[in-house]
């Protein structure tokens, strides 16, 4: 009798244990990592505060920065800061994708194009996007235009290279099948090449987003009077170190969220894998 009544309870216990383990694996480690990061931040803040020569910057510490971030979030001004940055990065990535995908497909499908472009593209790729700043400022009427150009230069290469590489790796058998049915080049492009390389285009896009997001802030130090980079610079000028730290936090969080969106998208279009 007792045995029968305890069995379901034990099973429930096992069940709960199982879920606990899964939750701790999915959430526990990231939370632990976050806690360690916070610990370092706090330690940094403590060291800054205890050193007389850096004491002025002590608002950088989490005790003052976190409340400030909370305030920023609910004050309604955060969006005014984030929005220009997002639209710049969106435009930069948009133009980069628009150029990189067709050029990448061309380079990937024509060996001659690959041979011709390989050297100049590798060379250009190695130039820091910020090095284009003086040229961008001359070439574009507005600071906004110049920044979008910089973001374009930062993000075009990863998309272009991963597209070209993916096109080269398409199984020749797939082309044979298309040719066998007398497929037109346009039909092959639409039904074969683009779907075949879509996951790689997005993987390149993810890299590009990462680079562009990093380049965005220094690019916004110059000229413009809006955006996250401007806000950081501004916070420094008015000695609002808690705000500065809060903005750094915001930049990190938004970058993470944008990346997570692209990762989800890659999963969605992905056909590779078993």
């Amino acid at each position: 009798m007792t045995a029968t009544t305890t069995t379901p309870a034990t099973a429930g216990g096992v069940e709960i244990g199982h879920y606990a383990r899964r939750i701790s694996e999915n959430l526990g480690y990231p939370l632990l990592g976050l806690a360690i990061l916070l610990g370092f931040w706090w330690l940094g803040g403590y060291l800054i505060a205890s050193n007389p020569s850096t004491q002025a910057f002590s608002a950088f510490a989490p005790e003052s920065a976190l409340p400030r971030a909370w305030e920023l979030l609910w004050s309604g001004t955060l969006w005014d800061t984030v929005h220009p940055s997002l639209s710049r990065i969106g435009l930069g990535l948009f133009w980069a994708t628009l150029v990189a995908v067709p050029v990448g497909i061309l380079v990937g499908s024509l060996p001659v194009m690959q041979k011709i472009t390989s050297f100049p593209f590798q060379l250009l790729r190695m130039v820091s996007p910020l090095a284009w700043m003086p040229i961008a400022v001359l070439a574009f009427e507005t600071w906004d235009g110049a920044i979008v150009f910089l973001l374009f230069m930062a993000s075009v290469w990863p998309i272009l290279f991963s597209t070209a590489f993916a096109v080269q790796r398409i199984d020749p058998m797939y082309f044979k099948v298309a040719r066998n049915f007398g497929a037109s080049p346009l039909a092959s492009l639409r039904r074969l090449v683009i779907p075949a390389v879509a996951p790689d285009i997005l993987a390149g896009f993810r890299l590009a987003l990462g680079i562009a997001w990093v380049v965005l802030v220094p690019a916004e130090y110059l000229g413009v009077t809006s955006g996250l980079g401007y806000a950081i610079n501004d916070a420094r000028d008015i000695l609002a170190y808690d705000l500065l730290a809060a903005l750094v936090l915001v930049i990190g969080v938004i970058g993470y969220v944008l990346d997570a969106i692209v990762v989800a998208l890659i999963r969605y279009v992905g056909w590779q894998g078993t």
Binding site: M173, Y174, K176, A178, R179, N180, G182, A187, R191, A198
Partner: protein, 271 residues
Amino acid sequence: MGASIQINGITHQFSPKGEVVLQDLMMDIGAGSNIALIGESGCGKSTLLHMLAGLLIPSEGCVKINGRQVTRAHPEWNMMFQRPGLYPWLNVRQNVALGLQFTGQTQNLKGRIDEMLELVGLRDRSEARIQDLSGGQQQRVALARSLAVEPQMILLDEPFSALDAFTRRNLQLEVSSIARDKGITLVLVTHDIDEALNMGERVVVMGRNPGTFRSIMDIDLSFPRNPMHPAFTEIREDLMDRFRASVETPADSETTGHTSQTPDPKEIANG
């Protein structure tokens, strides 16, 4: 419905100074007939098949289909390969639809796909991912994709060689009976003599260096053929001998046989 094929003095070199891969090939294949090509590895079977499909142009001579010279690939002359070449980003139905979409025949797409899936016995897997199918099922999808465009001719390059014996035999019987039902001309390249005898109304033995037709044998056994029948066994022995001869004797001393060595076919029909 089926296409007639004329192989018209084909000689082929892949490069102007390269070795002669095929030499002076000559054969007529009647509309709706089923031909099996066997021969040693490297004798040019695949090369010839690509020419029939219009995927490769011979350096001399030509292929004529229904009396017209072949200069390019055509959806009504369909080739199936050892690897099915299905697109992994599409599911089963979408793969079957591919040939129709490539050829622009998109009217009544759904109905035709369903019909083809029914024909190859994959109706219940129509939404499955390609990666989740067995090798035999994948080859069936490829078959449905080919049949959907209502081809006059299907060219098979060892399409079953990667499959287990049981699946292979089933597919041989199915493809062969579908082709005969629909009057499709079938040219099959195989390494497997039993496969050639299961499917071919005529078996052509090729030799290499350069590739030539060494022996052409009409098989007067009715379908479906029974490999256990004495007549089948006898023909198999004969074919084995010819195959061995094609491997051992150089091309110059060839003797092209045109005779069929068949015992009473009526008797075999009941066997």
